[in-house]
């Protein structure tokens, strides 16, 4: 318990150092663009793959569960869309990215720590926390809406593909379903959630990487911690945000 408080305290102290004015805006901008590429753009493929499969599975399971003459079949498409918008494209994608991006960030920072690169920055008088972490958080938070919207669209397409050859579902019903009763707020809700999740993943993973001490083994440990703790915090905030917003 005391240890948890210690980590939370140190996390906020670190965040205070991270959010200070960058030494050189030009350098900050360059680093951020670099991170958008290495954190954001490189995640597109994995988001595409899981979204198309999850959309398909979602539609198939809805079709299976709603096989009842009283229930109109367009509800299958509608249900698939709502699942993607409300929960999948923000939360599940965030959990997958916690694994990919979180471990990437933590191992990069951890390696820099144990090979004294962080010390070298401090030594020169650079605020290493801000120089290393701020571009990562900024890049991920800026790019996550793209990933989320992308995942929504691809997920719905996945369901459409599944509607060919699934018993109890036709492509036409599916299209009617996904175009009915659209609630723009769901998209807003999902985007807000994903922004917060992106912040959590980037900052919690950075925390674990930045405070690695020891050697190569400890870098592996930090990166595991980064994934585990950012996933837990994401799920916790998922409940809180859902309570607050819906």
């Amino acid at each position: 318990m005391l240890k948890l408080l210690f980590h939370i305290g140190r996390y906020f102290v670190l965040m205070k150092r991270v959010f200070s004015r960058p030494e050189r805006w030009r350098v900050f901008l360059r680093q951020t663009i670099r991170e958008i590429d290495s954190i954001g753009v490189s995640s597109i493929v994995i988001v595409l793959i899981i979204s198309v499969f999850m959309g398909a599975v979602c539609a198939i399971q809805m079709a299976y569960n709603l096989q009842n003459p009283i229930i109109p079949r367009y509800l299958i498409g509608l249900g698939t869309r709502e699942t993607m918008l409300l929960e999948f494209s923000s939360t599940i994608v965030a959990l997958i990215l916690a694994g990919k991006v979180g471990s990437n960030i933590a191992s990069e920072l951890g390696t820099m720590r144990v090979t004294e690169q962080v010390d070298a920055l401090e030594m020169m008088g650079v605020n290493s926390a801000s120089y290393l972490i701020l571009p990562k958080i900024t890049a991920f938070v800026l790019f996550i809406p793209v990933l989320t919207v992308f995942s929504m669209a691809i997920g719905i397409v996945g369901g459409y593909l599944a509607s060919f050859g699934t018993k109890g579902l036709t492509p036409h019903d599916y299209v009617v379903g996904i175009t009915s009763f659209f609630q723009p707020f769901y998209v807003t809700y999902s985007l807000v959630k994903s922004l917060i999740f992106a912040f959590i993943i980037a900052s919690v993973s950075s925390y674990h990487g930045y405070y690695t001490n020891g050697g190569a083994l400890d870098v592996g440990r930090s990166s595991t911690h980064a994934v585990v703790y950012s996933s837990i915090v994401v799920l916790l905030f998922n409940v809180i945000l859902t309570k607050l917003m819906l």
Binding site: R24, R34, Q117, A120, M123, M124, G125, V126
Partner: protein
């Protein structure tokens, strides 16, 4: 001038430095020698302000490092250059970018000026035609030399080198030693070098401090080192039987 006053340092109960006192003057190459694990790196990091001391004080021109505010600390850090034991080059930057990094952060030089300065520093450490390589693509000794180039890029007032020539062949070692000595005199730098290489001790040591298990056991010049009467130091200096023979011949 740097003064180390009664410095103690412990890591969670493990006492690493015990009551270290020393003075380092500008224009002099000061050496810290001692066995592996004796506390040389920790002492250097305390002096550089990377470790907080447990008790005691580090004074830069009579100003205590611990008592400085962030702004003063930052100002003084810009005057320090450090070569870490492992080089500590930035993995994601090329050799040239590594050397240009401090210039980009702390000067208003244009890109061309920075590149010229970086190339000048790289030439001084004998690194040619490796500008676009990444640290992982060059040898360990080259990494060390690039690290030295990065440390001197901003013309530091204080230069700290943690075993700058470990992992280098004897010829390159001497080139690096001489380079350190040269710039120390040329720019009146306060230089502190950690080493366990007796060649360096004899070549460039203006003042030598011997650390044994966290205690300072001896201090003096390279001329005095062979006849100190300090047992731990003799064991260190005359570790090889060849050195012992030389000593006995001299007597």
């Amino acid at each position: 001038m740097i003064e180390v006053r009664n410095v103690y340092k412990e890591f969670s109960g493990h006492q690493v430095l015990n009551d270290i006192c020393a003075e380092f003057e500008p224009g002099k190459t000061n050496l810290t020698i001692g066995q592996s694990g004796s506390g040389k790196t920790v002492l250097l990091k305390c002096i550089a302000g990377l470790h907080a001391v447990s008790s005691g004080d580090i004074l830069y021109d009579n100003r205590s490092f611990a008592a400085m505010n962030d702004k003063q600390r930052k100002a003084i850090r810009k005057e320090m250059g450090m070569v870490f034991q492992g080089g500590a080059l930035f993995d994601s930057n090329t050799v040239e970018e590594n050397v240009m990094f401090p210039l980009e952060m702390f000067t208003k030089m244009s890109y061309e000026e920075r590149r010229d300065r970086a190339n000048f520093c790289l030439k001084r450490v004998n690194i040619l035609n490796a500008n676009d390589k990444y640290p992982a693509e060059i040898s360990g000794g080259m990494q060390k030399r690039v690290a030295i180039a990065r440390a001197i890029a901003l013309n530091p007032k204080y230069l700290y080198c943690d075993e700058p020539n470990s992992g280098l062949d004897p010829v390159t070692s001497i080139v690096i030693d001489n380079l350190i000595k040269e710039i120390t005199i040329e720019y009146n730098i306060t230089t502190i070098v950690n080493t366990h290489d007796m060649n360096s001790v004899m070549e460039i040591g203006d003042k030598i401090i011997f650390i044994y298990k966290g205690h300072k056991k001896w201090e003096g010049t390279s001329a005095e080192i062979f006849d100190t009467g300090v047992k731990e130091l003799d064991d260190f200096v005359f570790a090889s039987s060849r050195m012992k023979q030389l000593r006995d011949l001299n007597r």
